[in-house]
Amino acid sequence: MSEHHWGWLVAIYLFLGGMGAGSFIVAALVELSGERYKHKYCPTTMVGAGVSGPLILLGTVLLIFDLGAGLREPWRILNMFTNPQSVMTWGIWILSLFIPIAFLYGILEIMHVYPGILAGARKRLHFLPETLPYRNIKRIVCSVGIALALGTAIYTGVLLSVVRAVPLWASAILPALFLVSAISTGMGLCIDLAATLAIPDVHRRFKNLPLIHMVLIGLEMGLLALLLVTALNQGGEAARSAKLILTGDGSIAFWVLVIGFGMLYPFMVHVYAFARHSHGYVSGILSGVGIIIAGLFVRYIIVAAAIPVVV
């Protein structure tokens, strides 16, 4: 596939931004619903809170590496806050607010799980309190953070969908697809992967989780199909982009990695998990890996299949 102006770096950034936001949403919902406190140890909130900040920061660093003059003269990056008309400016603002919140949530979660950290710090810094009202603080951090996480996930789609010069992208379906994919990759990472690794029978405890995730994967497939079918019907460059994905250079990655391994397989795993109230250890991990790979490749394929309008 020919990369137009943006390529892998931007695709990875969109993916990490989505997965980071998704992980935050999943962890924060488990926290806010009180589900976290029903277990002695909750790997989902631990991983979700712990990785969302670093993932988004890594994505942002990659985005900076894709810059030209902004990389050589980093103070120029401040200019990127200045155009309220630009979706990229919205994104920079959202990320600047979300990254600290996500890191704060991660630190609070780690301190909550390991009280020894605060106790240890207190030996040196005597002014520190003995303990903190973690649950109350996290409730505020999670509520604010969920809004910013939704903003992050949606903006990555809007960034592309406002580009009328690329008909494949110029669709309201794209932000919806990226949002659903963000939450799905977040669940893939925090539940299918992390929770399965830590507690093999995790789905016996969260009975409705496979159902929720199954619906999300189904929705993702539906939105992806809708995006491509609309593009095919639209004709012109949109149809050429869609054909590039369906039958052209991107088809192997699309059918094997995105549809097969990343959507159909996890979908079936979750149907099975819902019916049996359990994940197989191996199938849980594979499904998590598949969902994450699909999250990355669906973005790369969409970025790389950009065929601009013919002048």
């Binding site: 810059l67 030209g68 806050f81 200045t82 979706v87 920079i92 580009v163 009328r164 010069a165």
Partner: protein, 234 residues
């Protein structure tokens, strides 16, 4: 907005030259009539004086490219490359071949200096802006090189410069133009396919009034401001 302006123009200044209603009236003529400050038109959600609205609609300069005269020799492309010290093979002008053999013709494309420029809208660093003359410029000191403008430009008029890390484009050789000269591509066109001048200049106004010129892809909704074409067979 455009329709409202058309309405205003038609109401206040009598019949317009056919085929080019929007630009048929020179801003200066209109201002001389003294109505510019009195009439108010809606732009977006704001009411602004008509004279200001006209400023947003019209550019001072027009470049007409006569595709019946253009042979596709590429002299403009080369002149642009040399004038702007661009790396070999790069230019702010690119040629697109149109039509099938033997009736093929060449379409030279550069920045159209759109009034509703998508590159200006998406630029996070506010590095792309409109010069008061209506020409779209890039501030090389503030551009971060994110390439969002290159992605958003439907005319593919943006060139990423590896050396400076800045995305650049045709700036209409504004230094020449403001000094009373002509852009390098116009000077280089030996076939006389490029006609450049002030919008209210005699030659330009006459061709515009003839209604033979068209903007490239009006359906993009970008309202090209400077470049207009005379298409083969028009």
């Amino acid at each position: 907005m455009e329709q409202e302006l058309e309405g205003q123009v038609a109401d206040t200044d009598g019949p317009l030259p056919e085929g080019d209603k929007r630009t048929g009236l020179s801003r200066r003529t209109f201002l001389k009539s003294g109505l510019g400050g009195v009439l108010m038109v809606a732009v977006g959600s704001k009411w602004i004086p008509f004279s200001q609205a006209m400023e947003q609609v019209e550019t001072d300069y027009v470049m007409i490219i006569d595709l019946e005269k253009c042979t596709g020799c590429g002299a403009c492309e080369l002149a642009c490359n040399q004038r702007n010290d661009l790396p070999e093979g790069k230019s702010f002008i690119h040629r697109v071949s149109k039509g099938d053999d033997p009736d093929c013709w060449c379409l030279p494309v550069q920045c159209q200096h759109c009034q509703d420029a998508p590159c200006e809208e998406v630029c996070p660093a506010s590095a792309t802006y409109h010069h008061p003359s209506g020409v779209v410029l890039v501030n090389e000191k503030t551009c971060v090189g994110c390439k969002y403008c290159a992605v958003a430009c439907p005319y593919e008029a943006r060139i990423y410069d590896e050396d400076t890390g800045v995305v650049n484009k045709c700036w209409l050789c504004l230094d020449y133009v403001l000094g009373g000269g002509q852009p390098a591509c116009v000077q280089a066109c030996v076939k006389g396919a490029r006609i450049f001048g002030r919008r209210d200049g005699l030659e330009i106004a006459e061709i515009l009034a003839s209604g033979r010129t068209e903007v490239l892809h009006p359906e993009f909704g970008t309202k090209p401001g400077v470049v207009r074409y005379i298409f083969p067979g028009s």
